[in-house]
Amino acid sequence: MKKLLLEAPILTRSGYGEHARLVFRSLRSKGDIEIFINPLEWGSTGWISEDSEERRAIESCIGRFGALIEQAKQAKQDPVFDYQVHVGIPNEFTKKAARSVCVTAGIETDRVSSDWLMKTHQGLDKLIVPSNHAKEGFIKTSYEVHNTQTDQKMLLSCNCPVDVIPYPVKDIKPEHLKFEVDTKFNFLSVALLGPRKNLERMIRWFMEEFKNDDVGLILKTARTSGSTMDKMITRDHLKSTLEPFKTTDHKCKVYLLHGDLSEEEVHSLYVRDDVHAYLTATHGEGYGLPVFEAVYSGLPVVATDWSGHLDFLSGDTKENNKVKNKKLFARVDYDLNKIPESVIWKNILVKDSQWAYPKEASFKRQMRNMFKNYGMYKKWASSLKEQSQQNFDKQKICDMMVESIFGSEQSIGQNKEEEVLIL
């Protein structure tokens, strides 16, 4: 049986954790490979605490990896794998198998770093990304580099195929949280605190737009985890954002929903009677998993009209007896501009890269449109829900993932020779 090394933050409560579990499910469905899992951390995000059949299967693969490493230590040899799947950011990839694939969310801006591109010259056989936006970040980026050995200038660009494999629709039975909000119309937003999600500006615009309306914004957010400490820090941060609105009477309300919710509980948020639309003023998404969950649950969406989430926010509609593909959400106009200096992150978010800045007037107008013309948006959402169930069917996505990872079986061990650019 072929041996596959899966290096991934598979037990973390993060987008990459979710991505890794999708890869694991796909690999399990193939059946004729032996999976070894090296469980990585993902920043300071928490780990899943549920005990389930899948968790036990993951643990078993982790145990198998530990035993193999121990054996290899005794034998003073590196363990040998036929395949390697690295789930995470490409600059953390090091080749460890005959065929190596990196599954990454890509970048939320308009370009990837030169380090990421270098990895495609260092033994990476394929990149798998969840959206066309993420793919473009790889294939449209290039850097002029200087080869110190030949003293020549060269163009560094992506040197391996990039496949787009989106997330699948999940069949989750919602488990409702027992709470009531006292506003009649409510927006929902699910995101961790951080500059890219643009939560603070979104909150301010919401407060200004709905000053005199019976409208709520339920924020399912946290700094990194569902801990009590995190709740207090998150609460303090959001309260300081809302401080300027304390002195005036506002009819609208912002609610903080915090905690370590199960998938069933998170999915219940999208189908509550008192939650009407999903709201995001994001600067950019590799995919936008919560937006996707909202879409396949039938919740209308207000979002920035740029980046990864556009892949699943369009659908076929009939207009004048013609079928047209149309964006079926409340689109927020934006300007594409450089990311702030403060978010530049070595080898990840590079200087001069750009992301979207949603326009205030457009954002406010689209929130208002959603509130006023809810019927139309709800109709769009129902259509998107139906189409996403077909387009992002779980089995279909898992099959695509397997096919993309393994490619042509004959090609194993016949990979192109490693190209190394010496910079």
């Binding site: 985890s225 400490m229 309260k239 370590d260």
Partner: protein, 421 residues
């Protein structure tokens, strides 16, 4: 045939229970007393030591129920995750300064979904540390070691279950010793004058313990009564980098003729009990003290104490009616702090009060001192005995399992909240 009850597995994170530190000793006492009930098993992450060997140790006579796992620091998230999955403990019990456990509370959402967290806590002083609320609220139960800590936790986090479990001493070891053993100690102090009054100080030589101050002020006392009339034994490390150079101070003050005696060797509890029992009085003028185990050991040996009325010391020297020595009110309560601890009182004693207390004690009759010592022992037996300590812990664990459960029976923990901002 009766069905055997499943033992409750407790994951302990603290100083090594095999180490002689106060935290290690209290951890050991808790574990041993619970193991004796036959209802528990313990897996200890043994920290705060540089271990020569990191292999697991099974501790006799409970090799199946008491495992010690040496770790650096107090462990880390990865280890806790591994143990949560492999060991499936019914509760996590951890002890000592909150600053050591921020990482653990940071992952409390993962832990508390399945098992309760029990924190054995000490906080030395007021003002109420509201900055600790985020830590306190992260536990299912907080056990407090002193009346001061107890009041602090109940005020700062009134919603968290709180039980006071003061420290204990082994009263079978720390007790009045035979006259022969006492005489041996007294002769070491002064071969010619075994009736000389002897004071004892048993502490780490650290800044807050005021070791240098004590030497200076003890000299002023000797200047009044005569340098041959009393001695002070200091059981400590005089060159501790965290404290003052005590040898230099003794030399500077010319107290090298038996006025101050340094005891620097580590010794078993039995030998320490011989000293407590032989001396006339134990002193602690520390400006901050969570509990102060040394003075409790002294009282158990029927030796009265002179202490600063701060932290846990104040509940030892009096039960509110009787006095088991002399309690000195601080003359200043400055507010000190750091980046981690923004504010806390530092209770300083006045020189005059301390010197007067030495004089007062010196002028008491032997009978008065013995009477005080006997009452001190009774105070220990009534409030700080092993039996009381084990009973408290048994009750605390019973409460935890009945009210909070674990894994399939987990209850009274809400893993989410919603609030209007």
């Amino acid at each position: 045939m009766t069905e055997q009850k499943q033992k409750k597995k407790i994951l302990v994170i603290a100083d090594s229970p095999l180490a002689p530190s106060g935290v290690g000793t209290q951890t050991k006492y808790m574990i041993e007393s619970m193991l004796r009930t036959g209802e528990f098993s313990f897996y200890c992450l043994a920290g705060a030591l540089k271990h020569p060997d990191y292999r697991l140790q099974r501790i006799n006579p409970y090799p199946d129920d008491w495992v010690v796992h040496p770790v650096d620091g107090y462990g880390d998230k990865a280890l806790i995750r591994r143990l949560m999955n492999d060991l499936k403990p019914d509760a996590i019990w951890f002890m000592t300064d909150p600053r050591f456990y921020v990482w653990l509370w940071d992952m409390s959402a993962e832990i508390r979904k399945n098992v309760p967290m029990i924190y054995y806590h000490v906080w030395d002083n007021y003002p109420y540390p509201k900055f600790n609320k985020k830590y306190y609220d992260s536990n299912d139960m907080i056990c407090t070691i002193s009346k001061v800590t107890d009041d602090i936790v109940r005020t700062v986090s009134p919603d968290v279950k709180c039980i006071r479990i003061p420290h204990t001493v082994d009263t079978n070891v720390f007790k009045k010793r035979s006259e022969d053993e006492e005489l041996k100690v007294r002769k070491t102090v002064s071969i010619d004058n075994p009736d000389k009054m002897v004071f004892f100080w048993n502490n780490r030589n650290a800044r807050r313990k005021q070791s240098g101050t004590l030497i200076f002020w003890f000299k002023e006392f000797l200047d009044i009564v005569g340098h041959d009339k009393a001695s002070l034994i200091m059981h400590t490390e005089p060159k501790d980098p965290n404290g003052q150079d005590l040898v230099a101070i003794m030399s500077e003050l010319e107290l090298t003729d038996g006025q101050i005696l340094l005891s620097t060797n580590k010794m078993p509890p039995e030998d320490l009990a011989n000293i407590y029992s032989a001396v006339d009085c134990t002193v602690n003028i520390s400006d901050a003290e969570g509990f102060g185990l040394g003075t409790l050991e002294s009282l158990a040996c029927e030796t009265p104490i002179i202490v600063n009325m701060t932290g846990g010391l104040q509940e030892q020297v009096t039960d509110g009616e009787e006095w088991f020595g002399i309690g000195l009110e601080p003359c200043s309560k400055s507010v000190i702090g750091s980046q981690d601890v923004p504010y806390i009182h530092e209770d300083r004693l006045a020189k005059k009060d301390v010197v007067d207390a030495f004089l007062k004690f010196y002028n008491m009759t032997k009978e008065e001192r013995e009477e005080m010592g006997k009452k001190g022992r009774k105070h220990v037996m009534d409030n700080y005995s092993f039996a009381k300590y084990s009973g408290n812990w048994y009750e605390a664990f019973r409460h935890v399992f009945e009210n909070f459960g674990s894994w399939d029976t987990r209850k009274n923990y809400k893993h989410w909240s919603i609030e209007e901002l």
